[in-house]
Symmetry: C2
Subunit: 298 residues, 2 copies
């Protein structure tokens, strides 16, 4: 279907080849999931990575069928392009590929959505072919070596429509993401970013805040509580600096609410208000226990 189409329509499209731009944990895991789930008769995967070592690794471990260092070259051979780079480069890639490869459909894996969708919306030929997505999977581990074909199994995959997608585009991208094993959730880009600020971005920063306070003397004494609470603080600082920049307003709001609630907690502890402290802890336990049980053992 990769032919110039000024008024694109993907209603009857099908996906024979995908290009994965960025072969890190998420890009590599999508490539593996696609190859594992569609078997011999399945989708062809073109990998694109800037580093020679990553491209060799992807070929040697059969994560992809072919590799290239050039995103446009990869996209020009594909029906669907997955942009799996850090969030601050996604919109530029989408716009560039839309201009050079006018028939191709695109999606992404970014942890933030509003700024990306807004930037793409300013270029109509890009907006028509881009269906923004965020698979909520991954960990503090990064890189192709940790990629795993069942990373998305039963995980939430948020699709954040812009409203400017060409006919059929959202359906075909949704089907693609369903094929990775995830559960599809639809949210607006703004709502996605507001909720993720609370469920992911602020928790990451608080985890780092807790980790930073440990004195060297206490390092040999940490228990599972500290290790669990600070696990995501081991994440890549460059990737997270970009995420905070892309979702700054929502993260600021959430951090400021956290500061207010921390002040309330300090008051409860200072005054020895045991009933209020017990309620605070009980509410937290109940909230934690309401999380999906299928996810607690990952």
């Amino acid at each position: 279907m990769n032919t110039p189409a000024p008024h694109a329509d993907f209603s009857d499209a099908s996906i024979g080849t995908i290009a994965v731009v960025g072969l890190g944990l998420l890009g590599g895991s999508v490539a593996k999931a696609v190859r594992e789930n569609t078997g011999d008769a399945g989708i062809r995967v073109i990998g694109c990575a800037r580093r020679e070592e990553t491209r060799q690794n992807a070929i040697e471990n059969r994560v992809v069928d072919t590799v290239t260092a050039d995103p446009v070259e990869a996209a020009s051979q594909a029906d669907l392009v997955l942009i799996a780079t850090p969030v601050d480069r996604i919109a530029n890639y989408v716009i560039e590929i839309a201009k050079q490869c006018p028939g191709v459909l695109m999606t992404d894996v970014g942890s933030t959505k509003f700024q990306i969708v807004e930037a793409v919306n300013r270029v109509p030929e890009a907006a028509a072919r881009f269906v923004a997505a965020h698979p909520i999977a991954g960990s503090e581990k990064t890189g192709l070596d940790h990629a795993c074909g069942n990373l998305f199994r039963d995980k939430p995959i948020v699709i954040t429509e812009s409203g400017h997608e060409a006919p059929g585009a959202v359906d075909i991208v949704t089907q693609f993401w369903e094929s990775t094993g995830g559960r599809i959730v639809h949210l607006s880009p703004r709502r996605h970013d507001d909720l993720l600020a609370i469920s992911s971005h602020m928790p990451h920063l608080m985890s780092s805040l807790v980790a930073n306070q440990l004195p060297a003397e206490a390092i040999p004494m940490v228990g599972t509580g500290w290790l669990d609470t600070t696990r995501i603080a081991a994440g890549d600082e460059g990737m997270w600096t970009a995420i905070v920049s892309e979702n700054r307003e929502a993260i600021l709001d959430t951090l400021e609410q956290t500061a207010v609630r921390l002040a309330d907690l300090i008051h409860i502890v200072r005054t020895g208000d045991a009933p209020s402290l017990t309620k605070f802890l009980r509410d937290a336990r109940e909230k934690r226990e309401s999380a999906p049980s299928t996810q607690t053992d990952v």
Copy 2:
């Protein structure tokens, strides 16, 4: 060795029978560790629990040799008593048992130490026989059903001497704790509480703070980051209310430092100071990665 001894000396003592007062996760795990590590020729274990159901469970699952609901009855037959109750009851049990069973040695598992040791120190015949300890093991799971004989394997076990222990007492209790498989660390009660406030008590409260902020709409969308960061928030609120009460001053200090650092972080995010944010995240990653590797997979 359980005979009245106004000037106790444990230099030549040995342990044939222990009493475990409180058969929860920690008490049950010590009982299992002792029985598993000493085999047929090993130490006899008397369990003590208030609830009939717990006592039956302990006998049926061969966690202990015999059970009773009366701590003094259990202690009167033992060489060493392990107090494994919530922290706010430990000192009272130690003092009561010291008065009723003057030959017995005692230790505990409390997550706080200063107030307990201080209360026991006010009763010389109790202080001579009590060697305070804190095995840094456990999780958000509670109760005898989760008890496990290798819970303490390679985990830090802090011994906090009061200076009032009878000759030999610290050595024999240290040997006992070593037999559970843990790594012994010696700290003063005050230093223990100050460090634990930073490495355990504050992280627990921050985990609860993060959990409490999640709106219901975001519950189906949480990822491993939120689940890791909030895992300990599922802990028992009564147990943690008691811990906060016992170590209030040190926890207050740490929470106030956390508030100052959170204000700094908010300033960094508000002003878009990417280099400072990257440094904050890098410092946290390096601190997290400096934690003992043997503990990261527990």
